[in-house]
């Protein structure tokens, strides 16, 4: 295969409640050093967090765009309260930058105007993708629990319609959202008086089974996988199947190095096994998994040999 300069690397929206300072530093470094093509910004999980960092958005967008990145704003995954409805409506009214919609309320507000479909929209199949394309979708991010066989068929449908098609290849998978805040609950509080305790866990709050096995991560109203998804060994297959965009989700690790590792893999600058070993080292204690892709339990890691 020729060196791949067609497949785009993207950086998903920060799922956690990182402080405004940390976000500024993070995106400055992304702008300056990170080999991703596109960056999704915005609060997707909890509307209470948005006021902490939305004032910085224009400067962050500007900074990233000047560095040659395409910026997309992501909408909330859960829309229930007045402020959430308003935030979704406001984003949907924007002409630029592009928006990624994560809730049907956003689709309603956006109408036929162009938009991206986010991973919370449940675009599982070709019929749904066709429907979404007819309603103005230009791009679709597939749910991270989809197996390879379905991804290939969905990708083909999206490509035939001229849509970009994206798969998350790195970082914790979103497994569930709730109206209840589990971070607040763990600290004996409720969502309304949470005091933003989620800020103390920049990589989520670990849950372990009662026999002390890591199992899940809590991020406010969101429940995530304990392991980071890692589809680096699968990138050649994803590219061959027509995936145009590979999404890296921000974790509290060196994301520039993570992106560089994926970039190297795409450009075939080093053997996949070696790159994957380096990725594992970058992730420290976090386990890596690719079970969903292989139609197995999501937490599992199917070895390179088995996938060859």
């Amino acid at each position: 295969m020729a060196v791949n300069d067609m497949t785009k690397l993207t950086l998903g929206p920060i799922a956690y409640h990182w402080s405004a300072d940390d976000r500024r530093d993070f995106y400055a470094r992304i702008a300056d050093e990170c080999p991703v093509d596109e960056v999704y910004l915005g609060e997707v999980i909890c509307s209470k967090r948005a006021p902490f960092h939305e004032a910085d958005l224009p400067a962050t967008i500007d900074r990233l765009e000047r560095a040659g990145k395409r910026v997309i704003l992501s909408t909330l995954a859960e829309v229930m309260l007045k402020r959430e409805r308003k935030a979704t409506e406001d984003l949907a009214a924007m002409d630029a930058p592009e928006i990624e919609i994560n809730n049907a309320a956003g689709l309603f507000a956006r109408g036929q105007r162009p938009h991206r479909i986010g991973p919370f929209m449940n675009a599982y199949n070709e019929a749904t993708i066709r429907w979404m394309a007819a309603k103005g979708a230009t791009h679709v991010c597939l749910p991270s629990e989809m197996p390879a066989s379905a991804i290939a068929i969905a990708a083909q449908a999206a490509r035939d319609l001229g849509l970009g098609v994206e798969v998350q290849v790195f970082g914790r998978a979103s497994l569930a959202v709730s109206a209840r805040c589990y971070h607040a609950r763990a600290h004996g509080r409720t969502k309304d008086n949470c005091q933003f305790v989620c800020e103390t866990d920049p990589d989520g709050m670990p849950l372990r089974t009662r026999d002390d096995r890591p199992i899940l991560r809590v991020n406010g109203i969101q429940t995530m996988s304990e392991s980071y998804l890692d589809l680096l060994p699968e990138t050649p297959q994803l590219v061959a199947d027509g995936i145009s965009h590979l999404r890296l989700m921000p974790q509290a690790v060196d994301m520039v190095a993570v992106a560089q590792t994926f970039r190297n893999a795409l450009e075939q600058r080093e053997p996949l096994a070696k790159a994957d070993t380096r990725l594992a080292a970058l992730c420290g204690d976090a386990g890596l998994s690719n079970g969903f892709y292989h139609g197995e339990a999501g937490y599992r890691r199917i070895s390179m040999k088995a996938t060859a």
């Binding site: 995954a77 859960e78 829309v79 229930m80 959430e84 409805r85 809730n103 049907a104 309320a105 689709l107 309603f108 449940n122 599982y124 199949n125 070709e126 019929a127 749904t128 066709r130 429907w131 979404m132 309603k135 749910p143 629990e145 989809m146 066989s149 379905a150 991804i151 290939a152 068929i153 969905a154 497994l175 569930a176 709730s178 109206a179 209840r180 589990y182 609950r185 763990a186 409720t190 969502k191 309304d192 709050m205 670990p206 849950l207 372990r208 089974t209 009662r210 026999d211 002390d212 096995r213 199992i215 899940l216 809590v218 429940t223 079970g291 969903f292 339990a297 999501g298 937490y299 599992r300």
Partner: protein, 332 residues
């Protein structure tokens, strides 16, 4: 005042007849495959069984709603379409759907059959609900179990379709249709396969000290002391530890049942058209008891009489129960 229809679970043809006889205004059921969100062994209907059941229900004035409320993975869409075609041919009164592709197919192919939006579509705002109403002519939305009564009242004013809410049974914690917890541990997906914490992956292990471990796919979901009754290992109802909770706690929710009987008059007043009783996996006697009690209560309220709450509350006697999100925002 709304008609306050009672929507009752039918996991099997026998349960369907029981629910019809007990006074259900409508029953909901599914086929024996991934097209519905209760794809459990031993449950659900063959096309022949559904045909006989529709006849039984219709002869007694009860409607039959067919759940096609999972998300077909790419390449398997035909299974959902064929299920819809079969349901339409057999004369079901409505389809309960979540996937936009499935909704679009039914709206185009079977426009004479009502579409209800499943709780699995997670439409929790007037705008989201209107999206489905305007695009697929959805006639009723089943609201997620995450809204308070005042919020439901407000939504009712802003949407052009009927509202159905859960009133009794399992208390779903996660936003339905957005939960991959089961797939993460077992490799079977709630959205794509209709499976949630499947029995085939469950183990109960007795430990040397007499305590009991309930496991799902080898993960300990909870551990019970020798005197405690071991519960089913549903992932979102397990006990785990966290840095601030070293002793193990219900990280998501305690294993409680939803019982909104006390809120029934208020919900009717808020404009809820239909009340859903959860439990397609439950026994005939359970279905009979719950449906009879709610039938009586709804009839009392509609006739302006005070309903006998004691009967409804007794349904969950000995169990923990909750009004969940419906009563107060503090639940969140």
């Amino acid at each position: 005042m709304s008609l306050a229809e009672l929507i009752c679970p039918a996991g099997t043809p026998a349960a369907l007849r029981t629910a019809v006889d007990a006074g259900a205004d409508a029953v909901y059921c599914g086929f024996q495959d991934a097209t519905n969100a209760r794809n459990f062994p031993g449950l659900n209907f063959t096309p022949d069984e559904l045909a006989a059941s529709v006849a039984y229900a219709h002869e007694r004035g009860t409607k039959v709603l067919l759940a096609l409320n999972t998300y077909p993975p790419a390449g398997k869409v035909d299974l959902w379409r064929e299920a819809a075609d079969t349901g339409a041919r057999l004369g079901v009164d409505a389809f309960i759907v979540a996937d936009m592709g499935v909704a679009d197919y039914i709206a185009r192919t079977h426009p004479q059959v009502r579409l209800h939006l499943s709780v699995q579509a997670a439409a929790s705002s007037p705008e989201a609900i209107r999206y489905y109403c305007e695009n697929f002519s959805v006639k009723r939305v089943v609201l997620p179990r995450i809204l308070t009564v005042p919020e439901i009242r407000q939504i009712r004013k802003e949407i052009p379709c009927e509202i159905e809410t859960f009133i009794f049974g399992n208390h779903g914690l996660m936003v339905e249709g957005r939960c991959s917890l089961t797939n993460y541990l077992t490799g079977q997906s709630t959205n794509m396969d209709g499976v949630c914490s499947p029995a085939s992956d469950v183990d109960y292990l007795r430990e040397p000290d007499g305590s009991m471990c309930s496991q799902l796919a080898g993960f300990t979901i909870d551990r019970f002391g020798p005197e405690e009754k071991a519960g089913y290992p549903t992932i979102c109802k397990g006990r785990y530890t966290a840095p601030h909770r070293p002793d193990g706690y219900y990280a998501f929710e305690e294993p409680v049942s939803l019982n909104l009987s006390r809120l029934l008059p208020e919900l009717i007043d808020a404009g809820v058209h239909a009340f859903k009783i959860e439990g397609r996996q439950r026994s005939k006697s359970y279905v009979r008891g719950v449906v009879c009690a709610f039938r009586e209560a709804v009839d009392d309220i509609r006739a302006g009489r005070q309903p006998n709450m004691a009967n409804l509350i007794a349904l969950t006697e000995g169990q923990k129960q909750t009004q969940g999100a419906f009563e107060t925002k503090k639940w969140r």
